[in-house]
Symmetry: C2
Subunit: 420 residues, 2 copies
């Protein structure tokens, strides 16, 4: 008990300090004062090495700044809000390839001309997150109208007719469901439904559908597969055997929030078992520490060149998942796993010299890419993880202060706003 | 002189033995007796771990078998010819997504249904190579008609109207020319023009255009860039700074063949300087040996996760390029570089136990992926390199036998058929 409190206290301080340093890095180096939006291709020292604007990362940074502004007294700064709004306006002006069509670009030039388009839903999903969070901090209904209108289109693409995404229909294409799709939709439902009974009602059935589809990715109770058939069957070949431990752990904390809302402790125990412990034990590198990026469910060699690298984001997701699992279940074994992952993560990824984290280590833990941001790494996973952990650690510590044994009386509904 | 002869003799024996072992591996493990075509997703022991058929690799293996059948007495076997024909028929039957349209799939299911389509010309280019080579060994005009018809379409897509490839026109897309496009076309012209005066005439202007466009990728005389504008200017950002040393070396030997045909020793010297020596010196890892996969022209960190890995194919291309450079120029420094690269390659990539080569090593030279074949590695770069080197080494050794000092009287037109 005392050691749990100490662990919580130590991490609360480390995480809080680190969040300050990380936010300072992005504020110092990433703002495009001329066009709005953000530079995300930043070298180890924060220097811009490319001025392309990846829509995922533009939208995620808008969301992140708004979240910090809304949840943390010390980040309730006009500088963050103004940059988020400038980023939001940049997206409103430039993200959509052919307005009024809703398809968004994947990459824009610095001044906002579309450079590449993906035939998936993800640019649009991050756009929706950004617009909803911007509405929450500004009250400007233009943003909420964008969010809700885009969400309707995404749901239409996923559940009714994908033809607007531009993917060709091919007779040999596997009828596979990537777990990312129901995960992303569940995350959007949680975003849009927060303190919003009307949208929570509108998306209630969708939320259950998403959770059901994600849960189908557990096969034989033994493994979370990234791709299964739409009716939850295993697929042949590498695609069917593909495992992404960080992604399963992220799905785990999305589902823990779902189980909390449903007040379903049996579901929570299932999620901890299948989406936290299974991916951790199959994904952790016993030899060098850290989570492998990809694994093959039958123990074969993955075909992705980067399979054995250690990436920052799966470790961020693992930290959030284990701390949330501990908060919701009170199981001290989950706090120990949080501590193990967080120790590795802070030791290997943090750049104590120039701020922010390195993103890409080789298997042995040596920095393989010195960049702090790039086409897929921006101001998102690291500060989101730190902010969520700080909030959870604050809430847990205040629970300890009022309850002599918090680990035996976990709240099934998570405390909110602890770090406010 | 004596040491050069010794070097040639030693490598002739090593290369010849290795080619036998590599061909035996593919013959033993890759033939699909049921549908025709080849399994290329093979584990370290040759076991099939996925039965998808990548069109690049299907076509390359057809080409490779025909090339071996045509050029080497010991591979003039009905087993190779029959498998090549079965692969060719599989491609004729299944490669095109919507006949009579010429666009080919990127991946097919084992039984030939299209699974993915790329919006580029490369499946079609390898298809053309396969069909032309099949015609050369069988005399069946169906194959040659396919090759010439597909070539006309590829040239139309590249030089007149790319809309048939399905790429969206985006206002922010860089007007970049990847070096792969003129390289691939030059390679096809060389393939189709061999001993064919009519097609050599038809494609003469195209051949010059390709060489000119490839040569434009040398910037400031100091670096070969993968992407430049169509008028040969540097492009901004990571795309503009991207270097692929193995690709530049491959372009080098395509251009050396062009210079030989043009009997242009000044051009040959330029190619050796810019496409052989520059990429080698900027791409070679002085610390651990081997060629980096990617580099940034300004010495920044590339954003590709695999940038510092050592891949089999750049080393194959380097072996061919340096040996061809030596053969055509007589410069013993190029033979020493061939020897350096070939020593590293045979030591690090060869699997002396189960045959074929590993494809993917980490920076330090440790095997990172144990597969022998996968979505991008098939029966092509290794046997093509070994076959070309054996032919060149034979030709050089027979020149030594008849000429007391071959290094002072290089032939500007390469000797052919030495290994026949």
């Amino acid at each position: 008990m005392e050691s749990e409190r100490e662990t919580l206290q130590v991490w609360k301080e480390r995480v809080e300090q680190e969040l300050d340093r990380v936010v300072a890095f992005w504020v110092e180096h990433s703002h495009d004062q001329e066009h709005g939006g953000f530079f995300t291709c930043l070298g180890h020292d924060g220097k811009v090495f490319d001025d392309l604007k990846y829509v995922w990362l533009q939208a995620r940074q808008v969301w992140m700044y708004c979240h910090l502004y809304r949840h943390f007294q010390r980040f309730h700064q006009s500088q963050l809000l103004d940059s988020a709004k400038a980023g939001g306006e940049f997206l409103l002006r430039c993200a959509r390839v052919a307005p009024p069509g809703k398809k968004c670009a994947f990459v824009l030039t610095r001044d906002g001309r579309p450079s590449k388009v993906q035939r998936t839903i993800f640019s649009e999903c991050f756009y929706t997150m950004a617009m909803n969070e911007l509405w929450r901090v500004t009250g400007d209904v233009r943003y909420q109208n964008e969010a809700v209108g885009m969400m309707d289109e995404i749901v239409h693409w996923v559940r009714e007719d994908p033809s607007g995404l531009g993917q060709p229909q091919l007779s040999g294409a596997p009828a596979a469901e990537p777990m990312a799709v129901p995960m992303m939709l569940l995350h959007l439902v949680q975003q849009l439904s927060e303190d919003d009974a009307e949208l929570a009602g509108k998306y209630g059935e969708l939320e259950d559908w998403c959770a059901h589809r994600i849960l189908q990715h557990v096969q034989g109770g033994q493994v979370v597969l990234e791709n299964v058939s739409v009716d939850g069957k295993e697929l042949p070949g590498c695609l069917g055997r593909h495992q992404n431990p960080g992604h399963a752990l992220e799905a785990g904390w999305f589902l823990l929030r779902y189980a909390s809302r449903k007040e379903d402790p049996k579901l929570r125990a299932h999620i901890i078992d299948k989406f936290l412990l299974l991916p951790f034990h199959s994904g952790w590198d016993e030899e060098h520490g850290g989570l492998f990026y990809f694994k093959d469910a039958d123990g074969l060699c993955p075909t992705q060149l980067e399979w054995d690298m250690k990436l920052w984001w799966p470790h961020c997701e693992a930290m959030v998942a284990f701390l949330m699992g501990y908060r919701d279940s009170g199981d001290p074994a989950l706090l120990r796993l949080f501590d193990q992952v967080a120790e590795y993560t802070f030791r290997q990824f943090r750049d104590s010299e120039r701020g922010e984290w390195f993103g890409y280590l080789n298997r042995e833990g040596k920095v393989a890419l010195t960049i702090k941001g790039g086409p897929f790494k921006g101001c998102f996973h690291v500060p989101r993880c730190l902010a969520m952990c700080e909030e959870m650690l604050s809430s847990l510590l205040s629970r300890v202060a009022t309850d002599p044994d918090p680990s035996c009386s976990p709240s099934s509904v998570p405390a909110r706003g602890g770090a406010k």
